[in-house]
């Protein structure tokens, strides 16, 4: 197994780094009530990857070195984000209703592309489930650079992003301060870039799982604070990537991404349980001393 880890260590590193970024981004998206919109945008990115492959000739090998699939992911994601924000601002129907309709349409569009270009079927599976094992070359570099940039973005702008997430959650999108804020635009642009590149390099399932599983599970341990919550999310998703990937290398029938997702869920639940138990013991110890 060590020999295999040496071969794949760069893919593991990039996957783990992207998982950490996604989990922090997901905590903020969840607090801004954008989980369903993120799923829709991720589906748009998946469809964009397929469109990019078609435009680059439709051949699997060529597509891996073409800029069109990731560009397609970003363009489709941005378009769908813009259109969905406009549709939601009109308030003609509920938020969930609009997004489900868009998601379903994109899913149908994706399958329509596959039906017309059957040679893309394996690429569809890769876009959906991802393949961390084959992450190499341009895909690896693109994913790694965006993940590194994402880490720095969240590290240096923690306070501003958290303040904005709080304002949006409590006051809604009509808060006069957030409406005029360029930091809101920057956050949205970074989120679109990170999600698009992650879907392109690592797949829809990996992206959505890393975005929301750790943060949702840890939200049940409400006595932690923001820093602890974000640190937990990043740690769990990183460890899950490393462990899940290693497991799939040793047990060849275990698929990589589902293994990572399963370990992410288990590790989140375990971490939440340990944290809650620690807080309960600590508070009962304090009460006993008083």
């Amino acid at each position: 197994m060590m020999e295999l880890l040496e071969v794949y260590y760069s893919a593991i590193l990039v996957g783990a780094l992207m998982a950490a970024v996604l989990s922090i981004l997901g905590a903020h998206l969840a607090s801004r009530d954008k989980a369903l919109q993120s799923l829709t945008i991720s589906q748009a990115a998946t469809t964009g990857v397929l469109a990019g492959v078609v435009l680059s000739g439709g051949e699997l090998v060529d597509a891996l070195d073409s800029y069109l699939p990731p560009l397609g992911a970003l363009v489709f994601a941005t378009l769908v984000f813009g259109l969905s924000e406009k549709a939601l601002s009109l308030k003609r129907s509920g938020r969930g209703n609009v997004l489900i309709a868009v998601f379903t349409s994109l899913l149908a569009l994706g399958y329509g592309i596959i039906a017309y270009f059957p040679q893309l079927e394996s690429h569809m599976a890769q876009a959906f489930f991802g393949d961390l094992v084959t992450l190499s070359g341009a895909e690896l570099w693109t994913t790694g650079i965006v993940a590194g940039f994402g880490i720095l973005f969240f590290l240096f702008r923690t306070r501003t992003i958290l303040d904005e997430s709080f304002s949006l959650a409590i006051f809604g999108p009509n808060d006069v301060l957030s409406k005029s804020s360029t930091s809101a635009f920057t956050f949205n642009a970074m989120a679109l870039l990170i999600i698009s590149v992650s879907v392109y390099g690592l797949g829809l399932l990996y992206t959505i799982a890393a975005l929301f599983i750790p943060t949702v599970v840890f939200s049940f341990v409400s006595r932690s604070n923001a820093r602890t919550h974000l640190a937990y999310c990043a740690s769990v998703s990183t460890i899950a990537t490393i462990v899940g990937f290693s497991l799939s290398l040793t047990a060849t029938r275990v698929p990589t991404v589902p293994a990572i997702v399963a370990i992410m869920l288990l590790a989140s639940l375990l971490g939440a349980f340990v944290s809650r138990t620690y807080v309960t013991i600590r508070s009962s110890h304090c009460k006993h001393r008083h």
């Binding site: 905590a27 903020h28 303040d163 709080f166 959650a169 409590i170 809604g172 301060l177 923001a226």
Partner: protein, 200 residues
């Protein structure tokens, strides 16, 4: 008190989406160092007027002039939880790291209250946190939509006192207050500063 205005309206008129007139020929100005209270019953158009004043809607005739972009706004709260666990102290820290030096914040929230999680805090504690947050941002104009809802008498008195203190004691600039409420008969002695009422 300086003569420059913070926000003013002239011959303002607006209506509901189905055409019911809410206000006509509405003219008033908020100056630094004073509180303007907009009062009226339910459905009289108070929140609509606020949205117009803050530029969130343009469905009106007449004139609205905003002379400052430095606005602290507290809308009506929807009792929303926040997904990421945040202590009240962290919420204030996000606005200003100089939390410990702020005497008004110390008046509004105790040390124990500051360590409460937002999702566990009461409605009154949340409101006081949001007011303190506005104070830490040091805006020139503070706009409050029904700030006294769901507050008991002592919390209401404390909030009015703190709002008055904020306006009177600010050294760098003289702020103004614009308050929308269904309550009647605010008096200057409650705020310790000039109060004008605009009735819808």
């Amino acid at each position: 008190m300086t003569t420059s205005a913070l926000i003013s309206t002239q011959n303002l008129a607006f209506a509901t989406p189905d055409g019911r007139v809410l206000a006509e020929n509405l003219s008033f100005t908020v100056h630094p160092g004073e509180a303007v209270v907009i009062s009226g019953g339910n459905g009289s158009g108070k929140s609509t007027l606020l949205r117009l004043l803050l530029g969130m809607s343009s469905e009106f005739t007449g004139f609205i002039d905003r002379y400052t972009d430095s606005v602290g706004y507290l809308p009506q709260l929807q009792d929303n939880e926040f997904h990421i666990p945040l202590r009240l102290r962290d919420i204030l820290w996000m606005s200003s790291p100089q939390l410990e030096e702020s005497k008004i914040c110390q008046k509004l929230l105790t040390e124990d209250q500051l360590d409460l999680n937002w999702n566990q805090a009461s409605g009154g504690e949340r409101k006081r946190t949001l007011i303190a947050r506005i104070f830490l941002q040091e805006p020139k104009l503070i706009v409050l939509d029904e700030p006294f809802n769901h507050l008991d008498q002592s919390s209401r008195k404390l909030m009015i006192e703190c709002l008055g203190d904020y306006v009177v004691n600010r050294v760098s600039h003289e702020p103004g207050l614009l308050i929308v409420t269904h309550e009647n008969h605010f008096q200057e002695r409650e705020f310790h500063l000039p109060v004008r009422e605009v009735r819808l």
